[in-house]
Amino acid sequence: MKTGRMLLATALVALFAGGAEAQVSVKLGVLNDRSGTYADLSGEGSVIAARMAVEDFKAKDKGINVEIVSADHQNKPDIGSNIARQWYDQDGVDVILDVPTSSVALAINQITREKNKIFINSGAAASDLTGKQCSPNTVHWTYDTWALANGTGSAMVKAGGDTWFFLTADYAFGHALERDTIAVVEKSGGKVLGTVRHPFPGSDFSSFLLQAQSSGAKVIGLANAGGDTINSIKQAAEFGITQAGQNLAGLLVFITDVNALGLQTAQGLVLTESFYWDLNDETRAFAKRFAEKSGGKMPTMVQAGVYAGTLHYLKAVEALKDKDSAKVMAKMKEMPTDDPLFGKGQVRADGRKIHDMYLFEVKKPEESKGPWDYYKLVATIPAAEAFRPLDQGECPLVKG
């Protein structure tokens, strides 16, 4: 017995010593909302996802030492910026992951470029991240406002909703989503009758909903997210707006929002996502493992994006045996992406990660077979059509 253990220990030491030559240490910082309105769709779940990516990649065996840190940006650009500077300047963080809340993400985008590190965004929506404000140091993984508008917006117009009124969260994200959706609606032959911008975060939307109602628009576009969307949908039902024939378009709805609304209120809602846990065997297997670690909650597309983004980054580091930001970014764009959650895809020159997007409809209560069984797949939007064409984003990196 004893000799057996000795042998094992020696073998292990030899293994580590052998691996030590190619040892690269990377530090990943998961920066997101851990206490506010977006904490359920990103939060601790994103940290769990990043850890799962490191485990699944078997980083240690491949000579990559990964450390993960996390922090709460409280949806405030100033707080997020301070943490990012501290992480890059003092704590030796190489990559910042996730960062929902577009206003914070745009700030981190700038800082990461200044410090020449890497930013793999999953949680934020503003398509500006790979448009006018694109950066050689940023990858935008999961979705963006253009893709959401393209999915939900054109589906609604096709279904006959040709007049729109927008309820918009009054900050970078809401503005971007409103702008991109208006473009889609007008391109498909629809008309925008008006918009109202509400403070973020809000709790009472009845006043804005009433303005939307009196506009007479067929579709009320909700250019907001998280708790704001939940309350808007709930109150629209309360004020009889949906019953009176106007349709709601939840332009950004996460599965956690549907869970909070309950199927009774959310049924029939059409939404665009890039990931759903019940898509195929691989997503189901991932979701099952994720749920075991997160107290039964299913992963959102944001958390799935953190997993896949981390995996792709680690692959690039492994291939290079180096963590130099410029080299890794080049490698990430050169290598096609392939992971169990988003399938095959690619990171474009402007930093946009492309993959299929899905148009879902929320099930009726009687169609749902159990907890978290919420979506019916309506259509798959192929990767090539799902995102803004490379030449239309006004990203300076593309021209040069």
Partner: protein, 295 residues
């Protein structure tokens, strides 16, 4: 059709009514704060958390014990009020003779702890709580569709506010309370148990917050942050009305709801700040608040 500043009058009536509904929540919450401050001299920053607890207790009663809305309306304030009494006995009672600031810091800390605990347990997306079937639906008032439940909120909160004002200003019990704050030693000498009176008053103030929470549960999502967002606004309401003024808090609660409602029509971007603008103006012109007495 004639229009007022580009808004048809019908839409305007609708918005005013909505403002009144939001004002109901401000009124009940600021009333509780005003009572606690006026009679106990404590700036109760846990008020938002206690409002949130009221909504959560209603949700728990329904989901764990099958007890519906109407009983929750009675039970949740009692349960949360009882917890408030425990907090008072354990912590606040020790700070009675110290500066306001200690009470403020203590209650602020407690609020953060309570919110953190709930967030850990239930997440932030919120929990569904339905409108009771008796109040489902709504009626068409001609200028707008008024959900029955919102109408009930206005009526209920007006009744609670007026009853509270009546008890404190017009009854013997209220007289004891007011006397005990003026001169506790003298009142105690008359054989009245002042510490118990004060503890019960705190419990009542907290119960009011919980009641507002139950009223809010069916219309806003029941989530751990619901109070944190509201408490700052409610404090502004109390300051505008005059710290500790019962009538002031009721009138300004409804009044500011109306002002906020109008802002949402004419300049929605400022809806979150308008109350603070009013606060600044009032403090500049009348530092003690609209209904406050200058010391």
């Amino acid at each position: 059709m004639f229009e007022l500043l580009g808004i048809p009058p019908q839409a305007l009536f609708g918005q005013l009514l909505l403002g009144l509904i939001n004002g109901s929540f401000y009124a009940i919450l600021s009333l509780g704060l005003a009572i606690i401050f006026g009679l106990l001299n404590i700036i109760n920053f846990t008020h938002g958390a206690q409002y949130m607890m009221g909504a959560f207790v209603a949700w728990m009663l329904l989901n764990y014990a099958g007890i519906g809305y109407w009983w929750a309306l009675l039970l949740a304030p009692v349960i949360v009020g009882a917890m408030g009494i425990v907090i008072d006995r354990l912590f606040l009672a020790r700070l009675r003779d110290l500066d306001h600031l200690y009470g403020l810091l203590l209650t602020f800390g407690l609020a953060l702890i309570i919110q953190g605990l709930f967030r850990n347990q239930y997440g932030v997306s919120g929990l569904p709580y339905s409108i009771p079937p008796e109040l489902a639906g709504g009626r068409n008032l001609g200028f707008m569709f008024l959900p029955n439940y919102r109408g009930w909120v206005v009526v209920a909160s007006l009744a609670v506010c007026l009853a509270t004002w009546f008890v404190i200003e017009k009854t013997r019990l209220g007289a004891y309370l007011r006397a005990a704050t003026e001169n506790p030693t003298l009142v105690q000498a008359f054989g009245i148990n002042v510490p118990r009176l004060i503890t019960l008053t705190y419990g009542f103030g907290v119960g009011l917050a919980a009641l507002a929470g139950v009223l809010a549960a069916p219309i806003y999502s029941v989530n751990p942050n619901m109070g944190a967002d509201l408490i700052i606004v409610v404090f502004a309401v109390v300051v505008i009305g005059g710290m500790g003024s019962i009538l002031g808090s009721i009138v300004t609660g409804f009044g500011l709801g109306l002002i906020e409602g109008l802002t949402k029509v004419f300049y929605p971007e400022a809806a979150a700040t308008v109350i603070f603008v009013v606060m600044v103006v009032v403090l500049l012109v009348k530092p003690a608040g609209l209904f406050g007495r200058t010391a």
